[in-house]
C-alpha cells in the first residue's frame, strides 16, 4: 500500500497538479505533527471554497468590480502557491490577467477552469490522504528530479 501511495503522489506531480512546495510541506511533517500536510490542505480547501463562493456571488450579480475580483483571486492564488497547487495557481494567474485588462467574458470563462482544477485537486488529494492514513507512517517519498 505504501507503494500505491507513492505512485499516486508521483502522478500528482507528473501531471502537474502539485509542485515542489508540496514537498516542502512534507519536509515539515514530523512525529509531533504527523498529519501536518493534510491539516494544511484541509485549511486550504476550507478557505478557498469561501473565496470561490465570494467570487461566484460577485459574478452572478453581474457586478464586474475588477479590483474586488482581483483581490479575491490574489488571496486564492497566494494560498494555492503556499500549498503547491500548481494548476490552480496557473488558472488564478490567468483570471487576474483578465481582471487587469477588464475582460469580463474572460474572467467568467477562466473562473470555470479555476473551479474545475480546484475540484479535481481536492478529489485527488482527499483520495491520496485517505490512502496515506491507511498505509500508516512512512518515510517521505521523494519526487525524482
Amino acid at each position: 500500500m505504501q507503494r500505491q501511495v507513492a505512485l499516486i503522489k508521483k502522478s500528482l506531480f507528473d501531471q502537474g497538479y502539485l509542485d515542489e512546495q508540496f514537498m516542502e510541506l512534507e519536509e515539515l511533517q514530523d512525529d509531533a505533527n504527523p498529519n501536518f500536510v493534510e491539516e494544511v490542505a484541509t485549511l486550504y480547501f476550507k478557505d478557498s471554497i469561501r473565496l470561490i463562493n465570494s467570487i461566484d456571488q460577485a459574478l452572478e450579480r453581474g457586478s464586474f468590480d475588477f479590483n474586488r475580483l482581483d483581490n479575491y483571486m490574489h488571496q486564492f492564488k497566494g494560498s494555492s502557491t503556499s500549498i503547491g497547487a500548481s494548476k490552480v495557481k496557473t488558472e488564478c494567474t490567468m483570471f487576474r490577467e483578465y481582471c487587469r485588462v477588464g475582460n469580463a467574458e474572460g474572467c467568467l470563462r477562466i473562473f470555470q477552469q479555476v473551479k474545475k482544477e480546484h475540484a479535481t485537486l481536492r478529489k485527488k488529494l482527499e483520495h491520496y490522504f485517505q490512502l496515506a492514513r491507511q498505509a500508516g507512517p512512512k518515510e517521505t517519498a521523494r519526487r525524482s528530479k
Partner: protein, 136 residues
C-alpha cells in the same frame, strides 16, 4: 559561507523569537511550522495593525519579523515604516508575491526592511537569515 544546520542552531541553545505578520491563516500555520522546525518560537499577528499594537503594548521583543505585504487594516509597507518610527530594531523581512514588480519591492525595502523574500517561504530561504541573527 557555511550554513548552520538545524543541529548547529540547537547546539547554540539560542531560540530565535519571531513575529509572523500575515492575514492568510494558511501562511501563518505554515510559517509557524517552519520557524518551529528550525528551532525558533513564534507569535502571530493577522495584520499590520495588530503587529503595531503588539509592539506598542511593550513587553515583546522579536529577533525577526516576517512581514507580509498585502494585508487589510494596515499593509506591510505602512507597518514596517511605523515599526521603524517606533524604533523597533528587529530584523524585518518582507514577504512578497512574485507578481510584485520591482518598484513595489523597492518601496517595501525603503520602508525599512532588512531583506525581502518571495513567496512561498521555505526553510531554505529563511535559514541563511536565521544564521545571520545567530552570528550577530
Amino acid at each position: 559561507m557555511a550554513t548552520k544546520s538545524m543541529v548547529d542552531i540547537e547546539k547554540t541553545k539560542k531560540k530565535i523569537n519571531v513575529l509572523i505578520v500575515d492575514d492568510d491563516p494558511l501562511n501563518l500555520q505554515i510559517h509557524e511550522k517552519i520557524i518551529k522546525a528550525i528551532g525558533g518560537t513564534s507569535q502571530t499577528a493577522n495584520n499590520g495593525e495588530e503587529a503595531v499594537i503588539i509592539h506598542r503594548d511593550g513587553g515583546s521583543s522579536f529577533d525577526l519579523i516576517l512581514m507580509d505585504k498585502e494585508m487589510p487594516e494596515r499593509d506591510g509597507v505602512s507597518t514596517t515604516k511605523k515599526l521603524r518610527e517606533m524604533e523597533v530594531k528587529s530584523m524585518i523581512v518582507g514577504v512578497t508575491s512574485l507578481a510584485d514588480n520591482e518598484e513595489e519591492r523597492r518601496a517595501f525595502m525603503e520602508a525599512g526592511l532588512n531583506h525581502c523574500l518571495a513567496k512561498p517561504l521555505t526553510k531554505a530561504k529563511i535559514l541563511p537569515l536565521i544564521n545571520q541573527l545567530m552570528d550577530a
